[in-house]
Every structure is written in structure tokens, then in C-alpha cells.
């Protein structure tokens, strides 16, 4: 910006100086023209004098013509001087002196010619004219000298000024050139520097990228491994279980007569163990699926979801007296399938741990905490000892015996994974026999 401003100013200065240089040069040429015209005039007057005096002695007609030519030349020179000095008052004043003297001089020269034409000759006849000529000759010479001197002075000044302006132009041109070169160099170095910085940044970015790519590849590999692991668990671990259960059943059916009550009881326990392991495997698979599942992000009506889960639970045990208090129109942005899994686990948990109460009360609601929405599922069930609340969300962690409340301990771990995948937190508050409240948040609008 500044550089271009400086260049513009320099350019304008150079332009102005160049103009002045041209002007002064023109003026100097003009003055030289004046000087030439003055010389021409002097020469013409001399020629006229020679022609006039020559005619007086020799009487040649050609000399009359020469006189006429010289006179015309003198007048022409005067006209030129008049024009060229029009702007110079001093020279105009000189010219005003010169013009009548000139007229007188040519008048005298004409008189000399006329004398000869009248048949006069000899120096005596010329005496009066000579006398008169003597009276105009010095002022004429003086004024011509003055004019010449003035023009010479002007020429000197103008040439000098033109020289100064010319130097200025050259200096400005030089300065401009240097400046432009400096700017170009600066830009070049800036460009080089910029390039270096950019190259370095690009290199760093590339390194980070390749690191990320590497980690991504590792993550992908891990995911693939996890997937094939889950697949194996799903397929291979279940097959032997099916065998154990199937053949236990076959024993019970086909060899019942050879088994006593205890033998049958043992086989029954084998089968129960198998069932439980089957459920564990399925729960584990579901948990891994929660982690692997693609996340969608859309509007989820949690209230409606909670209502439908509540209805399903009530349908499984219609005899239970239960109040579901569900605040309407709680909406978030998230994955509907995953959120349903989370909500299903939380409300089912409440349903399970209130099974021993006379009247079940389960509430789903929303509170505000520092401007953030916190959702909760609250029940009047068995509750838990807050000392162990941290273990709640670990996989296969249980705070109640299987005989009190059956379960695999995977539900809350699943809830936590869903909530984490939604960028939220989950925690619980309770006391033994005081019911439990599970809170969770989600980071709405978070893209997975």
C-alpha cells in the first residue's frame, strides 16, 4: 500500500519535472530563436547599408534589389523578435526603442539611394545624412546590444534551469527505479519467506495427517478385529452352548428312567448355566453393537419413547400397580435407536428394582442445570449404596444378588456407552431403600 503510494508520488514528481524540463528546454530554444532573429536583423541592416551605399557609388540596379531584400529580411527579423519576446516586458520596451530607430535608419538608407537617383554623387552630398546616421547609430547599437545581452542572460538561466530539472528528472527516475527494485526485492523475499513458512506448515500438516491416517488405519484395524471378534462370539461361542443344552435336554428326555432326582437337578442346573451364558453373550454382543453402530442425528421425542417403554413394561406384568409420570415434549437431537436402548435400560431397571414395592412410581423428566438440560429417570425402588455408585456403570458389575434382582450387569454399561456417544454424561443418586435417580445429558447437535 505504502509502496504503491510512494511509486505514484514519485511518478507524479517525475512527470512534473519532466514537463518543466521540457518547458525550460522549449524556453531555452525560444531564446535561441530570439538571438538568431537579432543576429539576422543586424546582418540584414548591414546588408541594407552595404547595398544602399554601394548603389550610391556604383549605381547598379541589382544593388537596389539587394537593398529591398535586406530591408524585407530586417522587417521579417523584427516581426519574429516581436513575436518571440511578446511575453518579456523588458524586451518589449527595448523593441519600442528599436522600432523607430529602425525606421529612421532605413529612411536614411533610402535617402542615400534617392540621392544617387537624383544624380548626386560624392561625399559632400552625403554629409547631412551621415550626420543624422551618427545620431541614431549609437542608440541602435546600444538597444541591440541590450537585447542580445538580455537574451543571452535568459538563455543562460533557462538552460541552467532545464539542466536542473533534467537532473531532477533523472534523479527521480533513479529514485523510482531504486524504489521499484527495492519493492520487487522485498516482495520476492516476502514471497520466499511466505513459501518457506507455508512449506513448513504444509510439512507439519502432512506429518500430522500421516500420523492421523496411521492412527485411523489402526483404529479401523481394531474395529475390524472387534467386529470379527464379535462375530466369532456370536457364532462360535453359542454353538457349543447349544450342544450342552441340547444334549442335557436329550439326557433328560431319553434317559429319564436311569437318572435319579439329583441327577435331573444337576442337568437342570447345567441348562440354567447355559441359558445365563447365552444371555450374557447376547448382552455382550449388544453392548459391542452399541459401540460400533453408525450414529444418526435426528430429532428424538424422548417423552413419547418413555411412554411406549412404560406401556410395554406394564403389559409384561399387568397386575402391578404402577404410576408412570412422564413429562411431555422432551426432545433431543440424537440417534433414535441408541437412545431407545438407553431409555429402555433405565426404565426397565427402575421397573425391576421397584418390583418389591407395593406401588411402583417411575418418573421421567427434565431439569435445568446452568442452562443445560439434564434428563432423569427416578423411581421409588430398592436404591443402592452410594458408596458403590462408581461401579454401577461397569460391564458385568452388579450391586444386587441375582436372586434378589436378576440381571447380567450390562444394562447400565450400555446406557453409559450410548450417552457417551451422544457427548453426554450419566450419573446416579440414591440411598439404600430410598429409590434411585439416574441423570443424563446429551450434547445435542453433535455429529458422530
Amino acid at each position: 500500500m505504502l509502496a504503491s503510494a510512494i511509486i505514484v508520488v514519485l511518478f507524479l514528481l517525475a512527470y512534473r519535472s519532466n514537463n518543466q524540463f521540457a518547458q525550460w528546454n522549449a524556453l531555452a530554444a525560444h531564446t535561441q530563436g530570439d538571438l538568431r532573429a537579432l543576429n539576422d536583423y543586424t546582418a540584414a541592416v548591414r546588408a541594407a547599408q552595404t547595398a544602399s551605399v554601394g548603389y550610391y557609388t556604383d549605381g547598379k540596379d541589382s544593388q537596389i534589389q539587394e537593398f529591398a531584400v535586406a530591408k524585407a529580411q530586417a522587417h521579417g527579423a523584427l516581426d519574429k523578435i516581436k513575436t518571440l519576446t511578446a511575453s518579456n516586458p523588458d524586451q518589449q520596451k527595448n523593441l519600442a526603442t528599436l522600432l523607430p530607430l529602425n525606421d529612421q535608419a532605413f529612411d536614411l538608407l533610402q535617402q542615400i539611394i534617392d540621392l544617387h537617383k537624383a544624380g548626386k554623387s560624392g561625399t559632400d552630398a552625403l554629409k547631412p545624412i551621415n550626420n543624422e546616421a551618427k545620431s541614431i547609430s549609437p542608440p541602435l547599437a546600444k538597444v541591440l546590444a541590450a537585447m542580445t545581452t538580455e537574451e543571452n542572460r535568459l538563455l543562460a538561466t533557462r538552460t541552467a534551469t532545464a539542466g536542473v530539472e533534467g537532473r531532477k528528472v533523472r534523479q527521480l527516475q533513479l529514485a523510482g527505479g531504486v524504489l521499484v527494485a527495492a519493492i520487487v526485492l522485498t516482495l520476492f523475499f516476502l514471497f520466499l519467506h511466505e513459501n518457506t513458512v507455508r512449506a513448513r506448515a504444509e510439512q507439519e500438516l502432512e506429518e500430522i495427517n500421516s500420523k492421523l491416517e496411521f492412527q485411523n488405519a489402526q483404529l479401523e484395524a481394531t474395529n475390524k478385529e472387534l467386529e470379527s471378534f464379535s462375530y466369532s462370539v456370536s457364532h462360535d461361542l453359542r454353538a457349543p452352548l447349544r450342544g450342552i443344552d441340547g444334549f442335557s435336554q436329550a439326557l433328560l428326555e431319553d434317559y429319564a428312567d436311569r437318572l435319579d432326582a439329583q441327577g435331573k437337578d444337576y442337568l437342570g442346573r447345567v441348562r440354567l448355566g447355559v441359558q445365563r451364558m447365552g444371555t450374557l453373550i447376547d448382552d455382550l454382543l449388544n453392548l459391542s453393537r452399541i459401540t460400533r453402530a453408525e450414529m444418526r442425528s435426528e430429532r428424538v421425542d424422548l417423552s413419547q419413547m418413555a411412554r411406549s417403554i412404560a406401556n410395554e413394561l406394564q403389559d409384561t406384568q399387568p397386575e402391578r400397580e404402577a404410576d408412570f409420570v412422564i413429562r411431555p415434549e422432551i426432545e433431543i437431537k440424537g440417534d433414535p435407536q441408541l437412545m431407545r436402548v438407553a431409555l429402555q435400560n433405565l426404565i426397565s431397571n427402575s421397573w425391576k428394582f421397584t418390583s418389591k414395592e407395593q406401588r411402583t412410581c417411575i418418573e421421567f423428566g427434565q431439569i435445568a442445570d446452568n442452562g443445560h438440560s439434564v434428563f432423569f429417570v427416578k423411581d421409588n425402588g430398592a436404591g443402592f449404596d452410594p458408596a458403590y455408585s462408581k461401579r454401577l456403570f461397569g460391564a458385568f458389575q452388579r450391586l444386587h444378588s441375582n436372586s434378589d434382582f436378576p440381571g447380567t450387569g450390562i444394562g447400565l454399561a450400555t446406557v453409559q456407552r450410548v450417552i457417551h456417544r451422544h457427548g453426554g454424561k450419566v450419573w446416579a443418586e440414591s440411598g439404600v431403600g430410598q429409590g434411585a435417580t439416574f441423570f443424563f445429558t446429551v450434547l445435542s447437535g453433535r455429529e458422530s
Binding site: 457364532h235 454353538a239 447349544r242 443344552d245
Partner: protein, 150 residues
């Protein structure tokens, strides 16, 4: 080409094979059961190639019970090859597997499986599933007409 009332069970696990046969018996399903222990054998049997060269691809079973995880050629590829062949294009195929992975379900149906049943761990439930399968595919379902071949 003709049809018969047999069942082709494609199963590599001997326990599962025994349990399936038992479940069929328990449900009084007396149709002949042919067992192929890997994907290649299943294809050989159906197309009358390899070890079944003498059999000739003349008769097709009423239904194929196809496991997915198989040695040599896996279940999904068997399905793909059967669907690509004019003779077995319409053959009723039930995927009977331990897996309920979404990818297997999608791929199975995508390749043209007629049904997808997950083997329950609980044998009682397994017997029940086999009962339903037998009832549906051997009695209720009308099989496609036999494909005319030269």
C-alpha cells in the same frame, strides 16, 4: 429335473447336526435328510459334481437348511452360486445360523435367501423353531415348479 421331498442340511458342526436331526425327529418330520458338511459338498450335491457325480443333478430337495459359517465355501457364497444357476435359482433356502449380525442378515436376504432363522441356544426353543420350519417349508409352502432341463 425333478423334485423330491428331501431336506438338504448344510452343517459342519456335528453337534448341531445331531441336534437338528433330533429336533426333526421330535417333530415327527420323517423326510429324508441329506447332510453336506461344507459349502463345496453342498454345491456338489445339488449340481451333481465332485463326489456326487454319479447322482446327476436330477432331483432337488424340498428345502435347504444352510448354515453360514462353513469350511471351504461359506454359506453366503453357496447361496450366491445357487441363485446364479438357472436350476437352483428358485430353490427354497433357509439360512439357519448362530449369527444374528446385521451384515449377515442383509447379505443373506440380498442374495435371495427365502428365510433367516437364528438357532436359539435353548434346545426347547430350537425344537420349536425346527417345528415351525418343517411345518412351513415342508407342508404349508408350495414349492416352485421343477425347472425343465435338457
Amino acid at each position: 429335473m425333478t423334485n423330491n421331498n428331501s431336506i438338504l442340511l448344510v452343517e459342519d458342526n456335528a453337534d448341531d447336526e445331531a441336534l437338528t436331526l433330533r429336533a426333526l425327529k421330535k417333530n415327527n418330520i420323517t423326510n429324508e435328510v441329506v447332510v453336506a458338511r461344507d459349502g463345496a459338498e453342498a454345491l456338489d450335491y445339488l449340481f451333481g459334481t465332485g463326489g456326487y457325480k454319479g447322482r446327476g443333478a436330477r432331483t432337488l430337495p424340498q428345502v435347504v437348511l444352510l448354515d453360514l459359517k462353513l469350511p471351504k465355501i461359506d454359506g453366503l457364497e453357496v447361496l450366491e452360486r445357487l441363485r446364479a444357476d438357472k436350476r437352483t435359482k428358485l430353490l427354497p433356502i433357509v439360512i439357519l445360523t448362530s449369527s444374528n449380525e446385521e451384515q449377515d442378515l442383509l447379505r443373506g436376504y440380498d442374495l435371495g435367501a427365502n428365510s433367516y432363522v437364528r438357532k436359539p441356544v435353548d434346545f426347547a426353543q430350537f425344537i420349536e423353531a425346527i417345528r415351525h420350519l418343517g411345518l412351513y417349508w415342508l407342508l404349508l409352502n408350495e414349492r416352485p415348479p421343477a425347472v425343465k432341463t435338457i
